[in-house]
Amino acid sequence: MEKNKVTVALSGLNNIDSPGPGIPVIRGLKESRRFDVRVVGLAYENLEPGIYMHELVDKTYKVPYPSDGVEPFLERIRYIHEQENIQVLVPNFDSELFTVMKSEKILQEMGIRTFLPTLQQFEERHKSNLPEYGKKYGVKVPFSEPILSFQEWLGIEEKFDYPVVVKGKFYDAYIAYDREQVSIYFNKIAAKWGLPIVIQQFVKGTEVNVVAMGDGRGNTVGAVPMRKTYITDKGKAWGGITLQDPEMMKLTDKIISQTRWRGGMELELIRTAKEELYLIEINPRLPAWVYLAVAAGQNLPEALVSLALGQEVKPFHDYAVGKLFIRYSYDMICDLKSFEQFSTKGEL
């Protein structure tokens, strides 16, 4: 089968100890049987490793932070589009999703397709809205409350039992065993990611995850459940294994069909000793371990690009159980010239 040429721009090239999903998504796209992909990287920092991984990323452009606002972002995308003729844009960070979703129409007019959750889907699955989400869709979620100050915590502390999980708006989560630790983590996360901070009741059990994709019409395009077998001090998976778990698949189907989820997602779940599944988070994008799903037989990045292009995608029904991933670090050697070029010109 002849492959269709497609230019895909994507972010998340920070393939570091707490990696963004960019490189794993690209690996999936490069293995696509449908597409011959030209990869245009979008980077925020000069030292994101993906910028220098030329075997995977054809060209990278520096882009402004989402916090700079929609206009600077669109202006930069317009320029990149003039150079590259981007067909599909895949934002891989939670923090940039809002900006891209807000710009979806303008991007479409420019000829750039995306396949993202709707604003409503994005908003209602926020960590701070999770209890209502659980009620609305009949999913077990741990009790949680958003707070804007540590003083506020003192007012609601008695509703919780220690330990609790202190969570940032987008990233970071710490288990706090007493009031003092809540205060420390509150300040630490608020300084980095802003407010609100979400306090979630800690649920004891095994953390399991599902990477999945919804077609926006209530159908699950693909889903692969995984258990982290090695977790870093930042809580990231350094190793994982695909599972055979009908209950996790049922829950995923239920969430996707009820919310008519559109795009990639990661469900973070806790399985208790009583075999109950608690939903602790929904990440509205493909996770950094998505290449495990590709290796297990579900090329979800390819499906995402197909859906963005308006093509029909046959749902995946199978995947290999017991497929492992083990992350590793690798010292890539780069020329100063390359670093200089990206630092000064914002392109490489």
């Binding site: 095994t206 995984m226 258990r227 077998t229 994982g240 294994i241 695909t242 599972l243 055979q244 778990d245 159980v321 017991g322």
Partner: protein
């Protein structure tokens, strides 16, 4: 009767993989033999008979080792609980 969960796979080398939890364990040759007998639906008296004929072991010691081993397997959550499957 003890019954291994359907998603527990045991290789000939004694590698045990629980596809539901992702856990894996290694059995030694004797452990593997016992698990295979359990898998074949044998109960304790039958397993005792088979292994006593094969190995030099007195029934009292074997019983102790057997139930200790089975308790470990239960702790690893490898058996079907009552009412499941």
């Amino acid at each position: 009767m003890l019954k291994l969960k359907s998603n527990v796979a045991i290789s000939e080398s004694g590698f045990v993989f629980d596809a539901g939890t992702g856990d894996s364990f290694s059995l030694n040759a004797t452990g593997l033999e016992i698990v295979q007998l359990i898998q074949a639906g044998k109960d304790f008296p039958e397993i005792l008979k088979i292994l006593s004929e094969k190995y030099e072991v007195d029934p009292e010691s074997f019983e102790r080792y057997y139930y200790d081993f089975v308790a470990t397997l239960k702790q690893m959550n490898l058996f079907v609980h009552h009412g499941e499957e």
